[in-house]
Amino acid sequence: MIVFGLTLVYSDIAMQLLIYFVVAIALNFVIGYARALSIHHAALFGMGAFTYAVMAQRGWSNDLIVCGLVAALLGGLVSVILAFGSLRISGDYFIVASFAFQAFAINALFNWTSVSGGANGDYGLPTPTVLGLAVSSTFAYITAAAVLAITTLVFAIWLRRSPYGRLLRAMGDSPSALLTAGFGVLRLKVGVFGISGMLAAAAGVLYAAYLGVAQTGTFDVSLAILLVAIVVIGGTGSAVGSLLGATLIAFAQPLLSNLNLSATTTAAVQQLIFAALLVGVVAVLPRGLVQLGDVRKLVPRRGAGATEP
C-alpha cells in the first residue's frame, strides 16, 4: 500500500516537474529576452489544457501531437497579440497589463461553461494517444513529458547559440544598442512571445491529458506567480535554472501538502513558503540557483537595469 502510494506521488512529481520545466522555459524566453515580466503564462498554459479538454471530449481528436499543434497555434497567436501590447506599454505597466489579461482570460473561460465546465471543470477526459498508440500507463505519460521537455531544452539551447538567439540576448541587454546595430525590436519581440506562447500552451495539453481533468481554478493567478517564482528562483535567462527551479517547486509542493493542514491553510502556507523562498534565494543569489554553478561570480555584477532613451 505504502509503496503503491509513494510511486503514485513520485509519478505526479515527475510529471509536475517536467511540465513546469517546459512552461518555465517558455516564460523564461519572455522574461530573459524581451525583459517583460509576464504574469499571464498560467492563462496560456490553461488555454492548452482546455484545448485538449474540448478536443478530446467532443471526439475531435485525443492525439497529443494534433492537440498540441492546435494549442500551440492558439497560444502563439494570443501571445503575439500580447507582444504588441508589450511594445506600447513598457516596464512596470506591462506587469499590470499582463496580470489583467491573466485575470480576464481565466474569468472569461470560467464563464464560458460550454468550454470550461464552469466551477466543476471538464472531467473524465478520454486518455490520449500518440500516433494511434494509447498513452495509458504512468510510464507512457512520463515518456511523453520527457520527450516534450528534452525537445524544449534542446530547442532553447540551439536558439541561444544561433545568430537569432544572439540578437535576442542583445535585446535583453540593451535594446537601444541593438537598434543602432540595425535591428528593430518589434520582429524579435513578436518572435519571442510567439514561441513562448506556443510552448506554454503545448505543455497545457499534456497536463490536462495526464490529469484527466481541466479546471479554470488550476490556472489562476497563484499558478502564474508560482511560474514566475520558478524562473526567478532558478535564474532568469537560463534553461538549467528553469530545471532547478521546477525541480525545487515540484518537490516542495507535495511535501507541503503532507503537513496535514486543511486545504485553505495549505494554500496559504504554500504561498508564504514560496514567497520566502523567492526572497531568500534572490537575496543570497541575485541570479538564481544557477549561480551556485559558478562560485567565482557570486559577487553581483554592476550595471544592471540602466535606463535608456
Partner: protein, 266 residues
Amino acid sequence: MISASGRPPILQTVELSRSFGGFRAVDGVTVSVEQGDIVALIGPNGAGKTTLFNLISRLLPPTSGQLLFDGQDVTHTSPQRLARMGIGRTFQDVRLFDSMTAWDNVAVFAQSDRSATLRSGLLSPRAVRREARQVRERVEEVLEYAGLSAVASTIAGELSFAQQKKVAIARCLAQRARLMLLDEPASGLDAGEREDVAKMIEKLAGDGVTIVLVEHNMGIVREVARRAIFLAEGTVVGEDTPDRLLHSSELAEIYFGHIRSTAGVA
C-alpha cells in the same frame, strides 16, 4: 551646399530641434559635416550634445527640423534603417551587451538583417552557414584592428573600461559605418588609454570613416579634430578649428565657467 569634392556633405542638420516638455534641449541646430572629416562637438554639461547624437541616430525623433544623410532626407527614417545606411554610434554610458562576450557584441553588428527571423535559421542551412562564415571573418578582422583579439571571449561586462570603449567603436566598425558618432570616447581613461583611442580615431579617419566626437578632454580634441562645433544651451555658438575656438575668451568663459560651477559635483 556642395563641397569641393563635388559630393554633398555626409551629414547635414537643418534647424534641428528637440524639446522635453517646454525645455529646448536642442534648439535650431544647423551643421554640416564633410565626408572624411573629424569634427568635435564640444560644450558644457547639459549643452545638448548627447541629445543631438540621439537625434542624428534617430533614437529620438526631432520636434522640428531636418536631417540629411548623403544629401538624402532621413528625418523620418527609423534608427535601424539609418544604422544599415551607415550611421554608427557609441553611447556616453557605453551600453555594451554586458552579458555577452566581446566577440558576440561585435558579431551582432556584423549580422545581416535576414538573421533577425527565426525562419531563416530553420529553412536554409546553407545560407546560414555562409553568413556565419562572413560574420566570423568580419568579427575577427575588426577585433584585430581594434587590438581586442586577446579579449574576444571575455564577457563584455567584465572588460576594463578602456576595453569596453574600444568594443563600442569596434561594433561601429563591424557594421561598416561611414559616419561614426562617438560620445565621449576618452572620458574615464588614463593618459595611455586616451592616446590609444586617439590613434584608433585617426586610423579610422585614415580609412575614410567620417567622425563626429563629443569630448570634454581638450587634449584629444586638439589632437584629432580638424574642426570643432561649440554647443551651449542647445544652440551652436561657435564653429572653427579647435585651437582658434578654444582661444576665444567668450567661449572659454561659457565652458570653463560652467565647469568651475559644477566642479564641486564632479
